[in-house]
Each structure stands twice: as C-alpha cells, then as structure tokens.
C-alpha cells in the first residue's frame, strides 16, 4: 500500500534504498543480539479456539454453570472438558489434547492473558498477523525475514501452507511496503471445507501444491540460457533507466525462481520420510487430520531446509458458535496428534532448542453461551495461546484472566507485546527493527509493544 505520505521529501530515495536493501536479497543478516530462536513455525488456529475449554481452567465457571452473566440474559457455560495437571510442571491442559498433554506439557509456555483489539474475525486475524487491523502492514513473517534474511537462497524465506483466502487474505503473509522479496510464498491450494470434502470424497483441491514449479517441455540448460538472455536484456534497460527498482527486482526474481524449481519439489515429497515418522504425525489417519499431519511434517522439512518462518493454518475452523463440544472434539482431533508429533520430532532432531513453535488463534471465546446455549461467542478481551521451544520457559503459565475467563486481568499481553516477544526471541529489538517508508520509520509494533520477559527461558 503506497498510501500515506505524499509530500514528504525523499520517498523515492526510500524506494531506492529499498531496492538496495532488496538487492542484498535474502542473505543472512546478523540479529541485534544473540538469538534464542533461529526460526518460527506458527500453527495458526483460525476461528478463535475456546480458551476456557483448552488451556484456561476456571473452577468458578464450572461451579456457576447456567447462572446469568452479569445479570443479563446470557448464561454462563461451564466447560465440558476435564482439566488435569500434566508433566512435572503440572500444567493444566484439557482432555481435548491428550497427545500434547501427555508428551509436551513441560514444553509449553502458555500465555493465559492475551487480548486483542476487536472481536471480529478478519480484523483480529489481520492484527494477529500484521499488528494492524486498520492499515495494510507487513506481516510478522515478512518482518522476521527482513530482519534476519534466510540461509537457503533456493527457497523462499517465508512460507505459508494453505492459508485461508478470506480473513484478510494475502495481507496476512504480505510484505506491504517492505520489498516484495520478504512476502510469504503460498504453498498448497485452498483447503476444501469439510462439507465439500465429504461431498467430493477429496480433501484438497486438485492440482500441484505449487503452481508453475515445473515445465516438462524444457531442459534446465535451455532455461538457464533463457534466464541469462532475460537478465542481459533487463540489465541494459536498467542501465538506461538509471533507477528502476521494478527491473532490478525482476532480475533477482528470475534467478530465485530458477533455483526454486529444483529445491521445492524435493522438499514437498513426503514419501522420502520413513514410515515411523509418517505414522508419528498421523499420516494415513484420513480426513482433515491427514492433511494437517502432512502440513506439520512439511513445516518441519521446510524449517530444516533453512526457511525462516513457516506458517501452517490448521484445516479446521475453531469458530464454535454452536455445538461447541462436538466441534471442539473434531478440531482438536485433527490437530492434537500432528502438533504433538511436530514437537517430538523437532526435539529428537535437536531443533526444538532454536525453533520457536507458536500456537494461536485470533482471539478466544466467551465464558457464557450464545444462541441455543451450546456455543460460545467471540472474545477479544482475554484468551490463551502458547509457545514452545526456542527460548521460552516450558511448563509455564503466564498471566491470567478473571474468574470466568472473560478478561485478561493479570499481566495482560497484547498482540503488540506478543510480536515484540517473538522478535526478541529471534534476536531482534522490535524498536530497532524499522523500515523507512516515505519518510517515516515503521515498526511491526507501531509505537507499542513490550517484550514479555517473564516467558523467556
């Protein structure tokens, strides 16, 4: 979005500087201080999972089931889940996530005092990803890549696996005013809604996971010659134009594209994984869970290959306005095993130490029922998310909501704080990671954000 700052001088110089920065491409850059995490795997739970049914145990809510909420017509709805303590830490995780609870309670750093600005999906979803629900801003992944670069030049440094096309769409992995090289590459077609999977017997849209990644009619040698020809002609044009970021960017794009053709198919091929690993993740279990299992395994492979930021959007909606218990059971069944497997797998490979795994939705849900009394409404005032691995405390709860889980009251953590913390773990100072666009230094956290030091290991 190039809006904003008309007559500030030197906006074009900023563009030129941008081009220069981008010509450095994705090469690794030094963080501001030693990093605790080298990469991020973001498990995005779209729709807003109910925190009071998953990670935020509220005995008071359990006791007062059915009572009016704040004297109004809404009634409190106790959770139907059991909240046992797990691991050495005794972290409470509901019965919805048996695998995660059994194997990783001591790895999770749960923030129970999250809050965000708006209780509506697209806005909150976009704010979760970019910090802003109002303006088009670079996404968290793009900022991370901008700050650190990528160690693998043959792959995009930021990959998003089958993101939703609504909820802000490409904004959520876009680069906005950052050079386009930092934007997320989408791998995998749209995920078919469950209803249609049932109808068609297929879980994914037909077609290759990534379009145009291969041309069977042309040899690599010929393609190499083509790229050289294009670059030769483009450079001449660039010379005569003196200043043309579009052309400079194009020359790089063709080079990167050429290399991606070899690298990506290798990584996408999950068949090379041993059967034990496939089983661990739950590949072959069928349905949506199968898809998510493949995505989680692919996320690990991408992270392993040097991709800086991988986002996986779970192929299920947590937007449970009705039939809460049935739907929660479905969504957790799809996600529990693959997520637990991902953590196990990363740990086994010694990667969990420097990989930050983030699990979050765009908000949580109300402690009171809505509609026919069997669902929960959106709640932006208090909810839970967790992180694991790279530099965070394990088996730890941070902050708290009130007795009912309605509002974050103890050590509240805003999206800006979360972003500041994630950048901190990556070795980046959120106040120093700026990009000058049209005369103003922009940050992921705008003018807000405090690193949540309590969660740092």
């Amino acid at each position: 979005m190039s809006s904003g700052f008309s007559y500030l001088a030197f906006a074009g110089l900023a563009a030129e500087a941008a081009a220069k920065k981008s010509s450095k491409g994705l090469f690794v850059r030094q963080p501001h201080f030693p990093a605790r995490a080298k990469r991020v795997i973001f498990l995005c739970m779209k729709g807003g999972p109910s925190h009071v049914d998953t990670f935020d145990y509220k005995p008071e809510l359990q006791k007062r089931n059915g009572e009016p909420w704040r004297g109004g017509s809404a009634r409190l709805l106790a959770s139907a889940q059991e909240f046992k303590q797990h691991g050495e830490s005794g972290l409470r995780i509901s019965s919805l996530f048996p695998n995660l609870a059994k194997n990783h309670a001591d790895d999770l750093c749960v923030i129970n005092s999250m809050h965000t600005d708006l209780p509506s999906h697209p806005q909150a979803y976009t704010q979760l990803h970019t910090g802003s629900f109002q303006f088009v801003r670079p996404s968290l992944g793009a900022w991370s890549l901008y700050g650190l670069g990528s160690s693998n030049q043959n792959l995009p440094g930021f990959v998003t696996l089958s993101p939703p096309s609504d909820m802000g769409g490409a904004n959520n992995y876009g680069s906005a005013f950052l050079p386009a090289i930092y934007q997320g590459a989408k791998i995998g077609g749209g995920q078919l809604p469950a209803l249609f999977s049932a109808l068609t017997g297929k879980t994914e849209e037909p077609g290759p996971p990534m379009k145009n990644i291969d041309n069977p009619n042309v040899s690599r040698e010929t393609q190499r010659a083509q790229i050289d020809l294009i670059a030769g002609l483009d450079r001449r044009k660039l010379d005569s134009d003196h200043h043309n970021p579009e052309i400079e960017g194009a020359i790089q794009s063709f080079e990167l594209a050429y290399r991606m053709q070899d690298e990506i198919p290798d990584i996408l091929d999950l068949k090379s994984e041993p059967e034990s690993i496939r089983k661990l993740y739950g590949i072959g279990n069928g349905g949506e869970g199968d898809r998510f299992a493949k995505q989680c395994l692919l996320a690990r492979r991408l992270a392993e290959s040097g991709v800086r930021f991988v986002e996986v959007t779970a192929p299920t909606s947590w937007d449970h306005h009705s039939l809460l218990n049935d739907n929660l059971a479905k969504s957790s069944a799809i996600t529990d095993q693959p997520i637990a497997a991902l953590l196990t797998d990363l740990k086994k490979r010694g990667m969990l130490n420097d990989t930050l795994v983030v699990w979050s939705g765009e908000f949580g849900r109300t402690p009171y029922a809505q509609g026919l009394g069997d669902g929960r409404d959106h709640n932006n005032k208090g909810y839970s998310m967790w992180m694991a691995g790279g530099g965070v405390k394990g088996g730890y709860n941070h902050g708290a909501t009130d007795d009912f889980g309605y509002k974050a009251i103890e050590k509240p953590v805003h999206i800006h704080d979360l972003h500041a913390t994630i950048l901190h773990l990556l070795g980046l100072d959120h106040e120093k990671l700026t990009y000058n666009y049209a005369g103003r230094d922009f940050r992921l956290t705008d003018v807000y954000g405090n690193v949540v030091r309590d969660v740092l290991a």
């Binding site: 809006s3 904003g4 700052f5 008309s6 007559y7 500030l8 030197f10 906006a11 074009g12 110089l13 030129e16 995009p156 609504d166 769409g169 680069s175 386009a180 090289i181 934007q183 590459a185 809604p193 209803l195 249609f196 849209e205 037909p206 077609g207 379009k211 145009n212 041309n215 009619n217 042309v218 040698e221 010929t222 010659a225 083509q226 050289d228 020809l229 294009i230 002609l233 483009d234 001449r236 044009k237 660039l238 003196h242 200043h243 043309n244 579009e246 052309i247 960017g249 194009a250 020359i251 794009s253 063709f254 990167l256 594209a257 050429y258 053709q261 049209a438 005369g439 103003r440 230094d441």
Partner: protein, 824 residues
C-alpha cells in the same frame, strides 16, 4: 518558561554567530535542500499530518503549522531566532525541550542552516492545506472548511514568462508553475514511438501493431506530430478496445466480482451482465453523471423500450455485486451488512469518503456522524437487493434476481424445461415439505415420550432437506411457469417498505435508539438546492442526484483524479479512494479544481473528452528519462518533471502476450465462465469440468476472465489485480519469483511462445538466419529492431540453445523481459 528562554538565547547566539554574510541561495532551494530534509527525518514522525501525530499540539509539516506552533507557542517566528522554539529545541538549549528526543543533537552545520533560515525570514514554500489541524476536522463547521468539502473554484491559470513555448494547454501552465516554483523544468517530449506505445496501452490496453507504427509515422510526416497524435487519440478513443480498458478501471472501483466472497463464497452467475454494461457505457461515453445515476437508481429511470429498461436494471447490479456474508447470525444482520457495504462502496467510489466508519461511532477523522450514516442506511434498507444465491447448508441467505425481458436476445446459459418438468419439480418440493413436517411431528412426539427423536428427525436430515429444497428452488428460479429460460440480472429495486432507520448503538442491531433518522445525505456537504427525498421513495434516485449536483465538492474531483491517476500513474490526490483527513492532500490543488470544473462544465461529464484533454497536454507527452537533478529533488515525481514509468497491469501483460503471438481474439465472449457454470460454492470450482485449472483457458481479452473473489485466474492473481472486495482506485505493483515462474512454466505462456514462434517462421518464410529471426521477433515484441548489443546477447543464447524449439524459447524469453511489461 519565559525566563528560561532568555538564559539560552545568549548561549546560542554565542555558539552560532559566524553565519552572517553567507550567500543565500534562492529561498526555496535553500529550504528544500537544507531545511526540509531534516524536518522530514527528525521531526515529522511526531509532528505531521501524515504521521497523524501532533505532539504538544505541534505540526511541522506545513507553513502555517510551523508558524502557529503548538501548546508552547510558535515554533518559528520569522527573523527572530530567540523567539523560535524550534531552534531552542533542536539546539538543546533548554534541558526539558531537547529535540529530537533521546537522540544526539543535530550536527552544528544543520543548526547553522536552521538559524540562517529563520533569520532570513523562514521562507517556506510549503503551501499544502491548512495549518493547525492538530485535531481532525470532525465537527461540521471545521469539516466544511476542510479542502475536500469545499466547492472547486476557478483559479486563474498561471502564466509564466519563462513558459512561452512549452505549455500547450491550461493544465500545462498549472504543472509548469509548480515545477518552476521548485526550480525544475519539464522534460523534453518523448520519442514518437515511445509516445505511440504509451498512448496505446493507456487508452486501449494493447501495444501498437507494426501497422499502427507505420501509419503514425506517416501521419507525422504528413501533418506534424501534434495533429498526428490528436488523430491517433481520436482513433483509440473511438475503438471498442477503449471501453474494455477503461471499463476495467471502473470495475476496480466498483469492486466487481462474480462471487460473494467472505466465508461462504458463492458464485454470482449473472454478474457479468454488469461488467458488459460498464464496458458499453465507457464505449458509448455515457456522461459520468448519468452513469452514476444509472448504477444507483437505474430501476427508477423511465425507459423508452425494453432494451433500455434492461440496461438500466443491469446498471443497478453495481449495488448487488459487493462481498456478501451468506452466514450472518440472522437475516436482519445480513440486510444491515448489505446496506453497510452499499454505503461503504458508493461513498468511497464516488466521494472518496469513508462514511461507513460511522456505523459504530462518529467518524474519527472526518465530519461524518452516526446520524449521517443511518440517514443513508434508511435509503438502502428501503431498497431490495437481488443477488441470486440458492440456499444450501452453507448458505443461509437465498436471494432472487431481477427478471429482464425474454425478447431481447440476451445470452442465457441454462436450458429451458418442459412444462411437465416444472410441475414435477413443484410437486417434489411439496412432498419434501410434507415429509419433513411428518418427521418433525414424529420426533416431537418421541421427545414427549422421552425417546430418542433422532430416529425420526436428525440434524443430518434437516441439512439434507435444506439442500434438496435449495436445489429445487434453484432449478425453478431459472425458468418461468412454462419452462422457458428466465433472463435475469443482479440489481436493486425499491423495497416493500420505505422507512427511516434508527441509530444502532455501536452498530449493533440489539441496541437501536428510540427515534429514527430521516433519510438523507452527509451534512458536511452543503448544496444550494439539495434534493429532497419524498416520503414514498427510498431516496436512491435523490442520492444519485445529490452526488451529481454540479456544486457537489467531491464527485467530479474524485473522478477527475481517477482519470488523472491512470494517465499520469499517480493521482493529484495520491489516495484516490480517500480524500478525507486521513487521505493525502492534493499535490496540485488548483489543477484538481480546474479539472473537476472542466469535467462538469466544458466536457459535460464526458470522460472521453477529459481523457482527450489530458493526453493532448504537453505534460503527458514528456519523456520518462532520468534527470539527476530533478530526481534528487523530487524522486517520486510528484511535480511531474517527467512521465513516470509504470509496469503494465495484469490484463495488459496477458493481452500483450496474446497480441504479439497473434492469438488475441477480439470478439467479446458471451457471458463468462462463471455464468456458464451456474450458482455454486467457489470451493467446488476446481471440480467443474469446464473450468481450467488456471481459470483462464481463453484467448479473449483479460477483462472477460472470471473474477471470483479469493480465487482469481493465475495471471490476475500474480500480477497485482485489484482486491475485488475493496474499492480500488490504485493497484500495487509487486515483484516476486512466482511471477517469474509464470513466465517460465505456465501453460499460458508456453502456448503463447509456440504461437509466437510459428508466427515468426511464417513471416520469415524459410530464410534461415538467426539474425532475421531475432529482428522479426524484436519488431513484434518491441516495435523496433534489436541493436548490436541486443543481437549479441541473443546470439549468445542461440549458441547454448540450438534444438528445434530454440526460436520458441527465444521468443518466450522476450515475452519475459522487463521491457515487454514496462512502459516508458
């Protein structure tokens, strides 16, 4: 404060006394090179309209702001260094007022410059907008004073003695004056061939053919460049290709798409009729005021025949094609959301004002109140929207379509039925309902008896029935009683009930205020004789009349700016869809006023005439070459010292590839791929037999490709097509490897490269020379021959590649060059 101030004065004067006598450059130049950059870099972040911040009530980005100052008094008092707080702050003379905060003091050289500037009277060329707007003009009084809500007025055309030969039109004089003010001069004219390529893409979205070039050069020889160019412009504006290009610009603004978007994305099989209406309207140069009225209230216009009536009704499709939530919590909520979308889309498109912000609270930046918003809600809630989606399990919102005359020969894509089949379908539905009732009764009985009711009636059955009924309704909607295919369009008519709306607190339907708001329009716009809404009409027609009132401050300005943007790459107001406080201020306010008045008065709202005036200016004709001095001064080319370069749009890139390969089919296809596929969830499109994987598969112009929200044809998605859920006056340009992969590997480019190679071979007819092949290919792609170095680069390619498809791969590479998809 005062007493403290005197303590630093002495010190500062001591520190910076050796500046006197320096030969002062021209005031403006000094400010631009020595003062403004530091203001921008060090101060604007906290003290500018653009940043939306005015710490301490201080704005430093305008002349008035810097002189009026903030809470502590004037920042700059011309000629008086000791009274200028800005200097106190930046020289760190006062411990509690050190600016920029928490940073090193600015270098002494800079401080000296500031001192010199203030002492020489602080000459400040910044003329933009008003001064002290530390708070946004949200009340009516200050809102009405905001530039955008003031009627455009005629300004005297600047006439500089330095500008005897350059300017050929009034607009050139405005441009020249601003350049001159900033010590810049316009660029030389572009080469005729560059100009030809530019005007072809800009007006019709296609490159000139070899014949076009030959004709143009011959015409220049015969009648000179001026006349030849004017003649060329006339030809292009008269071509049907013009409507396909400029209609598409409007479709961006109209957030045109062929599906509902949002969480249940259902296709709109009749949306294409509105698309064709827009293309035709531009080709027929329907005056813009009329065009506005047709889209907002075509159903209320008198028509002389069925064809005109159909055209009017189709125009109102504008209001029905917006993104639509098919699964809102209730029907009421859906209707409220539809009205909201209509208000949002139309106020942004026609007025570049974001009225819909006032749904939940008074606008935070502009003088738009909740009352204004709900006055418009009444208008749209008193209208009925026809969007035509069949009810199903994931779509709770069924919608009808508007019936058009069946005798006009309009294309229809569904088969007629035998009358018996219609009767049978109706019977099926009756039976289905009867069975369902019976099952429900049994289930209710079971509940009473304490038994499990699901044996008789389960959720699955309920969903199944909705689906089955929906399917029957969907089929019945396509035919009349006798089974003849209906001809239908999306659109709007008057509603069954005409009523005012209450204000809903926080926009929530559960909390209406007691009284209602009379239907009307935002009060910040004052018109001499504003149209009154009769009690028994929705008010859409009056809304359209109000918008196109000759005194309306925005409609003509906004449209003139949109036209300008497409010809000069950036709007005079860069935020084409937001003229409000949060938008940008015009770079050339007088010129914008001039153009708005020209559009209304001189051109009688003719868009073609406005375009003609703009492209026949000297400003448009400038070369796009780099000039170091001007670039350093104005890198963004806001002052128009040259023509800005641009990358071609997605449509132009695709059309140009079809064009040079000789594959382009200029025939307008009947309907669209979506029209031929029928109403369904977009997630199922990949399974439809007639839908190619890249949603392309045609050789018609790109404007006819399907536009499904969140599911665009590859080429559109990759090359920055408009976000079809938003009003888009300006598309972004990105540069990503996926675009490169499209050129290297896509089916579409493979096919073009093959055709291109055959075309070259045919043209050469057996001449077996690489040189000739390259020349022919180059001429087709770039309308010129390759120079020696380009030939050498080509020969290096052929040295490495000599298979049977070498020519094809060479051609493909040419189609992939930056030269091919950029315009000088």
């Amino acid at each position: 404060m005062r007493s403290q101030r005197h303590t630093w004065i002495g010190l500062v004067i001591l520190l910076f006394t050796e500046i006197a006598g320096a030969d002062v450059q021209s005031d403006t130049a000094f400010f631009e090179s020595n003062i403004r950059p530091h203001l921008v870099e060090s101060c604007y972040k906290c003290h500018s309209v653009e940043a939306g911040k005015s710490k301490g009530g201080l704005l430093l980005d305008t002349k008035v702001g810097i002189r009026t100052g903030g809470d502590n008094g004037p920042a700059v008092v011309p000629g008086k260094i000791e009274e200028s707080l800005l200097f106190a702050a930046i020289s760190h003379a006062q411990p509690d007022l050190e600016m920029p905060p928490k940073k090193e003091r600015l270098p002494d050289k800079v401080l000296l410059d500031f001192r010199k500037w203030i002492e020489s009277g602080a000459p400040d060329p910044r003329t933009e907008s008003t001064g002290k707007i530390s708070t946004a003009p949200t009340d009516l009084e200050s809102g009405r004073k905001f530039w955008a809500f003031q009627k455009p007025v005629a300004h005297p055309t600047p006439n500089s003695s330095k500008n005897k030969t350059w300017a050929t039109s009034a607009l050139d004089h405005f441009v020249f004056a601003k350049l001159d003010e900033n010590g810049l001069v316009p660029s030389a004219d572009a080469e005729p061939t560059v100009l030809l390529r530019r005007i072809h893409f800009d007006l019709v979205g296609l490159p000139p053919s070899l014949q076009d070039k030959a004709d143009f050069l011959k015409a220049i020889e015969k009648m000179g460049l001026d006349s030849a160019f004017a003649e060329r412009v006339g030809l292009l504006l008269a071509s049907e290709r013009y409507g396909e290009r400029w209609g598409r610009h409007w479709l961006d603004v109209a957030r045109f798409a062929e599906s509902s978007g949002k969480e249940s994305n259902f296709t709109f099989p009749e949306a294409w009729r509105y698309r064709d209406y827009v293309i035709d309207a531009f080709n027929n140069d329907v005056p813009f005021d009329r065009f506005v009225i047709e889209q907002l209230a075509g159903d209320l216009l008198t028509a002389t025949n069925d064809a005109e009536r159909a055209r009017h009704l189709t125009a109102t499709g504008y209001l029905a094609i917006g993104p639509l939530s098919l699964n809102a919590m209730s029907r009421e909520q859906s209707l409220a959301d539809i009205a909201d979308e209509q208000i949002n889309a139309s106020t942004q498109a026609f007025m570049a004002t974001t009225v819909a912000c006032a749904r939940c609270h008074d606008h935070k930046f502009d003088a738009i109140s909740m009352e204004d918003y709900y006055a418009m809600v009444g208008i749209f809630r008193s209208s009925k929207t026809f969007f035509g989606t069949a009810v199903g399990p994931d779509n709770q919102l069924g919608g009808e379509l508007i019936q058009l005359s069946k005798t006009l020969g309009l294309p229809v894509f569904y088969q007629p039925m035998k009358p018996e089949a219609v009767t049978k379908l109706k019977q099926d539905k009756v039976e289905l309902i009867a069975k369902e009732k019976e099952a429900q009764a049994k289930a209710a009985q079971a509940v009473k008896e304490g038994k499990d009711p699901s044996e008789f009636f389960s959720l699955q059955m309920a969903i199944g029935n909705i689906w089955r009924k929906g399917a029957i309704d969907g089929k019945l909607a396509l035919v009349d009683e006798k089974g003849n295919s209906n001809v239908m369009c999306m659109g709007v008519t008057e509603g069954e009930e005409i009523k005012n709306s209450p204000i809903y607190e926080r926009g929530e339907l559960a909390t209406p205020r007691q009284s209602t708001v009379k239907r009307g329009f935002p009060k910040v716009v004052q018109l001499s004789n504003s149209p009154e809404i009769p009690e028994d009409e929705s008010g859409r027609l009056q809304y359209a009349d109000w918008l196109t009132h000759p005194d309306h401050p925005l409609t003509a300005r906004v449209m003139a700016n949109r036209v300008w943007k497409h010809l000069f790459r950036t709007g005079i107001v860069r935020t084409t869809d937001n003229f409000g406080f949060n938008g940008e201020r015009p770079s050339h306010p007088e010129l914008l006023d001039y153009l708005a008045l020209q559009l209304v008065n001189e051109h009688q709202w003719s868009v073609k005439k406005l375009i003609r005036e703009l492209v026949l200016s000297r400003t448009y004709r400038q070369a796009s070459d780099y000039e170091e001095k001007a670039f350093l001064k104005d890198p963004e080319n806001r002052l128009l010292w040259r023509m800005s370069k641009r990358r071609l749009d997605a449509e132009e890139i695709r059309d140009a590839m079809l064009f040079v390969a000789g594959d382009l089919d200029l025939e307008r296809p009947a309907g669209s791929l979506i029209g031929r596929t029928g109403n369904r969830n977009a997630a199922l499109l990949p399974f439809a037999k007639n839908i190619p994987a890249d949603l392309d598969g045609s050789t018609a112009r790109s404007v006819y490709l399907p536009v499904v929200r969140d599911r665009l044809p590859d080429v559109l998605e990759l090359f920055d097509f408009a976000e079809s859920s938003l009003v888009t006056g300006h598309r972004e340009t990105t540069n990503v490897p996926m675009q490169a992969l499209y050129f290297m590997n896509s089916r579409f480019v493979e096919e073009r490269a093959s055709s291109f190679a055959s075309r070259i071979r045919n043209e050469i007819k057996g001449t077996d020379s690489l040189e000739t092949e390259m020349e022919v290919a180059f001429r087709r792609c770039f309308n010129r021959l390759p120079d020696a170095e380009e030939k050498e680069i080509g020969l290096a390619f052929f040295k490495k590649t000599n298979g049977s498809d070498a020519l094809k791969r060479y051609g493909q590479a040419l189609l992939s060059t930056a030269m091919f998809r950029n315009l000088d």
